[in-house]
């Protein structure tokens, strides 16, 4: 098929999906018409567009500011971690914390600690930081070792290697990070607007519109949010495509056996302890600096006291354990489902870029359509049980994992496929022999991105649909001004996510154990 033909097929597929949507909406096939027809959504969107404008402008401003700040910090941090691996270990706890802290737990704290606008930008930037940082670091570290050797051979140090080789090598990875970061920034801005009492922004507009029981308005807001995210996503994707072509490895690089300086057990233990303690130190310092009352701003000791020493310690422990018992099993299941879905999707994108290009706009839509607007629909279709939780969790987890996996598939050198093609390999063989092994590292990066998000997905489902577990506990605690429990849930959910993250790393070690590192 030539290029024009392929675009035609993509367009036809998208048109087909849209028509299916339209028919479903017109005939009120889904949940008694809760899924509106696309024409109803669009005509209302067009008619009301002047009302959208100030909200759109505000969300764009917040999201793009957060996007820039978050990404600058993320790339700078990745460079620092690459240059001085020690810092990466030290900041590991902080990084995972930033990534895993559920925005629904963070938003109320940000809102009281900062001015409204600063809080909203901060949330957007926080959601942006981790995906870009991880992608950039992986990119920096996977630079061609021969090229690095070459720089060293001419007396260049690690800064020269970073500047001349690593940064440019990492560019496609950084841009794939931006692809995840763009919808994340929009979502962060909308989430913050939704909760923080903002006058303007799509999030505020959504909140006011929720009570109207008019799904076409909610979907209109979701579409608008998707449009801005798509803009960022497509820009990053185009840039990535442009630089990836040149970066494609020229041949399969021979993995080199490198000696790593052997470190003693003591050194390792010290690093582990430091990584564990460092986030708590930062936490304590931030609380001191904020000057907030201990009623709302709990220090690490404050949480310990609340959970073990205070008057209500026993009741708090019981409530927490009950919630954990409800949340943890579902999270484990949700994370598997989410990852599997991402893998299937990236497989489709690998096997048939045409189909993928048609699916992508819809996949992107799930990332930016605020979940709170979709909940009535999700509840009406899937009920309030395990299914709805898994659906919401998958929608939260799959996207980041998918982008990374698809990028991994794209980085496989052409020559590798030519080789097996020569033996008449089938698509499945190509997948098994080349694609899956070659993007092994990316599978684990994807896993690390997806796993902690599974908990967030489950908590959102609990908050909006099922009324169980940690998500519900968190929101009820807000009604009681029970900041001890709010901080406890935030801490426990972070620890849980860190555990899941470590699980992914452990799996990576077990699988790649035989191979050399770096």
């Amino acid at each position: 098929m030539n290029e024009a033909k392929r675009h035609l097929v993509t367009a036809a597929l998208i048109a087909g999906l849209l028509i299916a949507w339209e028919v479903t909406g017109q005939m009120k096939l889904v949940a008694g018409g809760t899924l509106p027809a696309i024409s109803a959504i669009l005509s209302r969107l067009v008619a009301e567009f002047p009302e959208y404008l100030p909200h759109l402008a505000e969300t764009l401003k917040t999201a793009s500011t957060g996007f820039v700040i978050g990404n600058v910090i993320a790339v700078a941090a990745a460079c620092l971690f690459c240059l001085f691996p020690l810092t990466e270990r030290l900041f590991r706890g902080i990084n995972i914390t930033v990534f895993t802290v559920p925005p629904i737990a963070l938003a109320p704290v940000l809102v009281i600690a900062m001015d409204g606008n600063a809080a909203r930008i901060t949330l957007a930037a926080l959601l942006v930081y981790f995906p870009t940082m991880t992608a950039a670091l992986t990119g920096l570290q996977t630079a061609d070792p021969r090229a690095i050797d070459l720089v060293h051979a001419y007396g260049g140090g690690r800064f020269k290697a970073l500047w001349l080789v690593r940064i440019r090598t990492a560019l496609p990875a950084v841009l794939s990070g931006f692809q995840i970061a763009a919808p994340a920034a929009v979502l962060g801005a909308i989430l913050a607007e939704f909760g923080s009492g903002a006058r303007w922004g799509l999030g505020s507009f959504l909140l006011g519109s929720l009570g109207r029981a008019e799904p076409d308005r909610l979907w209109g807001i979701g579409l608008t949010a998707t449009a801005i995210s798509a803009l960022g996503y497509v820009a990053a994707a185009l840039a990535a495509k442009w630089v990836t072509g040149e970066n494609r490895a020229l041949g399969l690089t021979v993995s080199q056996v490198r000696s790593e300086p052997e470190r003693g057990r003591l050194h390792k233990a010290v690093m582990v302890v430091a990584a564990l303690v460092f986030p708590f130190v930062i936490w304590q310092v931030l609380i001191w600096m904020s000057g907030l009352s201990p009623i709302i701003a709990k220090t690490p000791y404050g949480v310990f006291e609340y959970l073990f020493l205070g008057r209500g310690a026993e009741s708090a422990q019981t409530r927490l354990l009950v919630a954990l018992g409800e949340t943890v099993p579902v999270t484990l299941l949700g994370m598997l489902v989410g990852l599997l879905f991402a893998f299937l999707l990236s497989l489709i994108s690998f096997l048939s870029p045409t189909i993928m290009r048609a699916i992508l706009p819809f996949a992107l839509f799930t990332q930016t359509m605020p979940l709170v607007a979709l909940t009535p629909l999700a509840v009406l279709i899937f009920g309030r049980g395990l299914t709805v939780t898994l659906v919401i969790t998958t929608s939260v987890t799959f996207f980041a994992a998918f982008v990374v996996l698809a990028q991994g598939f794209a980085m496989i050198p052409k020559s590798a496929f030519d080789l097996v093609d020569a033996y008449g390999a089938s698509v499945l063989q190509k997948l098994r022999l080349i694609a899956i092994p070659a993007c092994g590292k990316w599978i684990f990066v994807a896993g690390r991105l997806a796993l902690p998000k599974a908990l967030l997905g489950v908590m959102i489902a609990e908050w909006l649909a099922t009324g169980k577990g940690l998500g519900n506990l968190l929101n009820q605690s807000r009604g009681y001004l029970d900041y001890g429990m709010i901080w406890t849930v935030a801490l426990v959910s972070i620890l849980l996510s860190v555990a899941l993250y470590q699980l992914a790393e452990l799996a990576e070690k077990l699988v790649t154990g035989g191979r050399s590192k770096k």
């Binding site: 009281i112 303007w200 009570g211 649909a465 099922t466």
Partner: protein, 326 residues
């Protein structure tokens, strides 16, 4: 610590300076006015009509106040805003406030109550009405997580076992009620019935208040520190706000259209909805002793209700002395 507070004060005064500069030169009074910040409980809707009226009519300015109005939202816990020093007074739900005083030792005082009767109630469809707590048995009721405590209290007061009602989260959207996925929801009875009627259904609702859950709502709360330092300003605020509410209730349909392009602009709601809201809330707010009134019987009812659900409310949490000074 003190540095950050000073910085915040500095930023505040800088913002006030900027605001003062933007005031037309003819109005010199604004420059002399003393700044005061209030934290509302929700986004801009008819619930706060009285304050918008007072702002637009210049009642606060006349009282020597330069009022900053902060809208609320799901993540804004008004009491937290007070503790963080970002507002001088806040409109709160009394159960949260009193629980915070009892459990956390928060230094709050309730100095007035906007809603004499709490407008939260059980809303169902008229074609399958739920007319009393008794009829909730075996039904699915959607409740915002923060209000579960109130519903549990109401059930207990009416002798209904909590486990007989299937309580699920309510996510601000009445669609599941309209589609019959849930049988009833807990919401402001002043608001949701309008939406339901717009969707071609008839609503039935009852107040928790009428079934023994006798609490105020949108209680005016300050910290003890503010009460001591800004007593005059608070009285001035209550006086001006009362003026605003009185003006608003002269004709509940009059003000909402005026706010369409200002206070209510961009909220995503309709002016008709706000008029409905405003009319519905009038009997819940008005009191012969004036807006914000808290008489002994009312306070006792609040205390008794909260005590029944284990929140140890007491009289000293309410301070009626400012009401007397209005």
């Amino acid at each position: 610590m003190s540095i950050s507070i000073n910085r915040r004060r500095f930023l505040q005064s800088a913002a006030i300076g900027a605001a003062a500069l933007s005031v037309p030169s003819g109005i010199t009074r604004a420059l002399a006015a003393t700044p005061l910040t209030m934290q509302a409980a929700w986004i801009n809707d008819a619930e706060f009509c009285g304050y918008f009226a007072a702002l637009d009519e210049g009642y606060y300015t006349d009282a020597g106040l330069d009022l900053t109005y902060l809208p609320g939202g799901p993540d804004v816990i008004p009491e937290s805003t007070l503790i963080a020093g970002r507002a001088d007074l806040a409109l709160t739900t009394p159960d949260t406030t009193i629980k915070a005083i009892v459990d956390q030792g928060a230094p709050f005082k309730i100095i007035g109550a906007q809603y004499q009767k709490n407008p939260i109630g059980i809303v169902s469809l008229a074609k399958a009405p739920i007319k009393s707590p008794e009829e909730l048995k075996g039904k699915t009721l959607a409740v915002p997580p923060v209000n579960v405590i109130s519903v549990e209290a109401m059930l207990e007061i009416n002798g209904i076992d909590r486990s007989e009602v299937n309580i699920v989260p309510y996510a601000y959207d009445p669609t599941p009620l309209l589609k019959g996925e849930i049988d009833a929801s807990l919401d402001f009875t002043t608001n949701v019935p309008y939406t339901i009627e717009q969707q071609g259904e008839e609503a039935y609702s009852f107040l928790l208040y009428d079934f023994g859950y006798k609490t105020y709502n949108d209680t005016v709360v300050v910290t003890e520190e503010t009460l001591a330092e800004k007593r005059d300003l608070l009285v001035a605020w209550m006086r001006a706000s009362r003026q605003g509410w009185n003006a608003n209730f002269q004709d509940p349909a009059a003000y909402p259209p005026k706010f369409a392009d200002t206070w209510f602009k961009g909220t995503g709601r309709t002016v008709e909805n706000e008029i409905f809201f405003n009319e519905a809330q009038q009997p819940l707010i008005e009191n012969p002793n004036g807006i914000f009134a808290m008489d002994d019987a009312g306070i006792d009812a609040n205390i008794e209700t909260l005590n029944r659900i284990g929140i140890k409310a007491s009289k000293d949490m309410f301070d009626t002395s400012l009401l007397a000074e209005i």
